[in-house]
């Protein structure tokens, strides 16, 4: 008898728990539908009511209470910038729900061009085939340049022989099918020690940019001497660990690890130049200083919250950029970019 009672009371407890859970879920579902426009279900009804509101609301007024959800996805390089903008924007607009994902530039465009996103983060301009996918689905967009990043070539602090590298030497080291094995193969007089290479993976815009700027789009070598990782901290640790290693990633990662790594000045024919806030901003750190972008879906911009967010983003990212390790554009350029939103 006792066992049965114990079991029954347990069953009862579980049943009650189940009831509560389902009841709670049911309530939530009801809430979300009854809340209507302030909620996330972006049914066509909601959107049409949103656009209806928009006509009544002054576009420039950011403090008007807004709801709705803004979905953003894309480059992990741009993520800290968008996160900063979303965080600050959220302080003034607590009811607008901004979500940011990190599917990579390519993954972001894929979702953006199928109409799933309001904004795509990108660490390179949109590719032709991606632009075609967008136009096939009838998606028009504005591309906004938001900041600069300097792709930084780094070696270990212990490396005492590298003073600079030329673009040709970089190409020779990293290009597909490269025969370079040791540093002596790169430049006469350097030690005949095997080079260990670290590179971001193919999904990242950082790799895409390096491929375009240095490797003439021929692709990177893939053999036992090179390691790939999507996690930049892994690259940092790899380069830090060996005197004969070399790697590349965004400037923010170099800046944070400047005490452990040595940055290699790059010579593109006008003398060796190391990446720094100044050289990236004025473009002398060529060809490895790159612009970062957000792509805004024009149709989504008819929703007041999306417009307000994009507007806030472009007008405030300058001060936020340096905070998260990126180089802001010159001030007048931001107002120029902002005109693309109209």
């Amino acid at each position: 008898m006792l066992k049965n009672k114990g079991f029954k009371s347990l069953l009862m407890v579980m049943m009650i728990a189940l009831l509560f859970i389902t009841a709670a879920c049911g309530n939530k579902a009801e809430d979300s539908t009854s809340n209507g426009s302030s909620d996330t279900e972006q049914t066509s009804d909601d959107q049409s009511s949103d656009t209806g509101e928009e006509e009544a609301v002054d576009d420039e007024d950011v403090t008007v209470e807004m709801g709705g959800q803004i979905e953003i996805d894309g480059s992990s390089t741009v993520y800290p910038l968008t996160e900063a903008a979303a965080e600050e924007f959220g302080k003034f607009n607590p009811d607008v729900r901004v979500t940011v994902g990190v599917s990579g530039t390519g993954g972001g465009f894929k979702r953006f061009c199928s109409g799933e996103l309001a904004i795509a983060d990108a660490s390179r301009p949109i590719k032709d085939e991606e632009a075609k996918a967008c136009s096939d689905n009838g998606i028009e967009y504005s591309d906004l340049t938001i900041a600069y990043d300097g792709l930084s070539l780094v070696v270990s602090k212990d490396n005492d022989f590298i003073d600079h590298l030329t673009v040709e030497e970089l190409n020779k080291i990293f290009t597909t099918g490269s025969t370079v094995k040791t540093w002596a193969d790169v430049r006469a007089g350097w030690p005949a020690e095997k080079i260990l290479m670290y590179s971001p993976g193919a999904e990242s815009g950082t790799y895409d940019y390096f491929n375009e700027a240095i490797l003439e789009k021929k692709g990177i070598r893939n053999d036992t001497q090179i390691s790939f990782s999507e996690d930049d901290n892994t690259l940092v640790q790899g380069v830090e660990g060996s005197k004969y290693a070399i790697g590349y990633f965004g400037f923010a990662y170099y800046e944070e690890n400047a005490d452990k790594l040595k940055v290699v000045p790059i010579d593109a024919g006008k003398g060796a130049i190391a990446p720094s806030t100044e050289t990236i901003k004025d473009g002398t750190y060529a060809p490895l200083s790159r612009p970062l972008f957000i792509y805004v879906n024009k149709e989504e911009m008819s929703r007041p919250e999306v417009y307000a967010f994009a507007d806030y983003y472009i007008n405030n990212i300058g001060s936020l950029a340096s905070e998260v390790g990126y180089v802001p554009l010159p001030d007048d350029q931001y107002s120029e970019e902002a005109t693309k939103l109209h």
Binding site: L2, K3, N4, G6, F7, L10, A17, L18, I21, T22, A24, C25, K28, A29, D31, S32, N35, D39, T40, E41, Q69, E71, D73, S76, Y79, P80, T82, E83, A84, A86, E87, G90, R97, V98, T99, V100, G101, V102, S103, D231, D232, N233, V236, A252, Y253, E255, E256, N257, L320, E323, V324, G325
Partner: protein
């Protein structure tokens, strides 16, 4: 002559003892490597992260500043996900186990189903993510929502729950069922009043362990698009969400050292939750074991 035998014997015995001793050492080393690795991991994480365990971690949303960043949305997201998937996977999993053990005929089809379930238990979690993305996110139009995530996780843990529940049911001696039938009970009366009460502790242990697997999974949720920056709490099952492992993964990949400390503190929170769940599994088992 006898002394020769004794000597030989002694040598043999000494040799065997040496083998015995060295094997004992070998097994001890094998055991301690696992334990030491775990201890090293724990100590490393605790020294890194313990000072970041502060109210902000639980009260704040993600932020670009490590000092202000918290994982409120991730913790709540993980809990909501468990809340939806636990009853669902319990009903489906235990139901399937009861059917397979008590009702199904032992024929080729049952064996095929059995084989499939055992295989599914070993399928990499990312595959469930792809399934969830196609089925729940795209086909059923649930979007990248809490519900889609919970359903995907339910599929992921279902084989584990079925297998462990089956084992628990199988452990109930046949004599109990026979006794029940002898009293004129029907199949369902036997199952519900005799079999299940005897093995409920085993079933619950399996369910809780499956839940603790789900709470630590990242890959399938990355696949279906649980997001990294979510600065609100989901208010309904169709809202976007994030979970703890995803937030931790994002923090680990940041350049700033302080974010890595934050990630360590996030890992501590996740570990404590896992330990609590496992502890409750042990307590449940001990409590109901007495009744058999």
């Amino acid at each position: 002559m006898s002394s020769i035998f004794i000597d030989a014997n002694r040598k043999q015995i000494a040799g065997r003892r040496r083998i015995d001793f060295s094997l004992k050492l070998l097994f001890l080393v094998a055991t301690s490597i696992g334990v030491i690795a775990l201890m090293a991991l724990l100590i490393d994480i605790i020294t890194d992260g313990i000072h970041m365990i502060r109210p902000e971690l639980f009260n704040n949303f993600p932020s670009r500043k490590a000092s202000e960043a918290g994982m409120k949305s991730a913790i709540v997201g993980s809990l909501y996900m468990l809340l939806i998937m636990t009853p669902l996977s319990f009903l489906l999993g235990v139901g399937a186990a009861i059917y397979l053990e008590e009702y199904a005929k032992k024929n080729r089809i049952t064996r095929m189903i059995q084989l499939n379930i055992s295989t599914l238990a070993g399928v990499p979690s990312i595959v469930y993510g792809i399934l969830g993305l196609t089925l729940f996110v795209r086909e059923l139009h649930l979007g990248r929502s809490l519900l889609a995530g919970s359903f995907t996780m339910t599929l992921l843990v279902l084989p584990i729950i079925i297998v462990s529940a089956q084992e628990a049911i199988r452990s109930v001696p046949k004599s109990r069922r026979d006794a029940s039938y002898a009293l004129g009970a029907t199949k369902w009366q036997t199952v519900s009043r005799s079999v299940l009460p005897s093995c409920i502790s085993g079933i619950l242990t399996g369910v809780i362990l499956a839940m603790s697997r789900a709470i630590g999974e990242t890959a399938p949720l990355v696949m279906i698009g649980a997001l990294t920056f979510v600065a609100f709490l989901p208010t309904g099952p169709l809202d976007s969400f994030t979970v703890m492992p995803i937030q931790i993964y994002n923090w680990v990949s940041r350049p700033q050292a302080s974010f890595q400390e934050l990630a360590a503190s996030g890992i501590i929170v996740l570990l404590v939750m896992l330990l609590l769940m496992n502890l409750s599994a042990i307590l449940l088992r001990n409590k109901y074991n007495k009744h058999i």
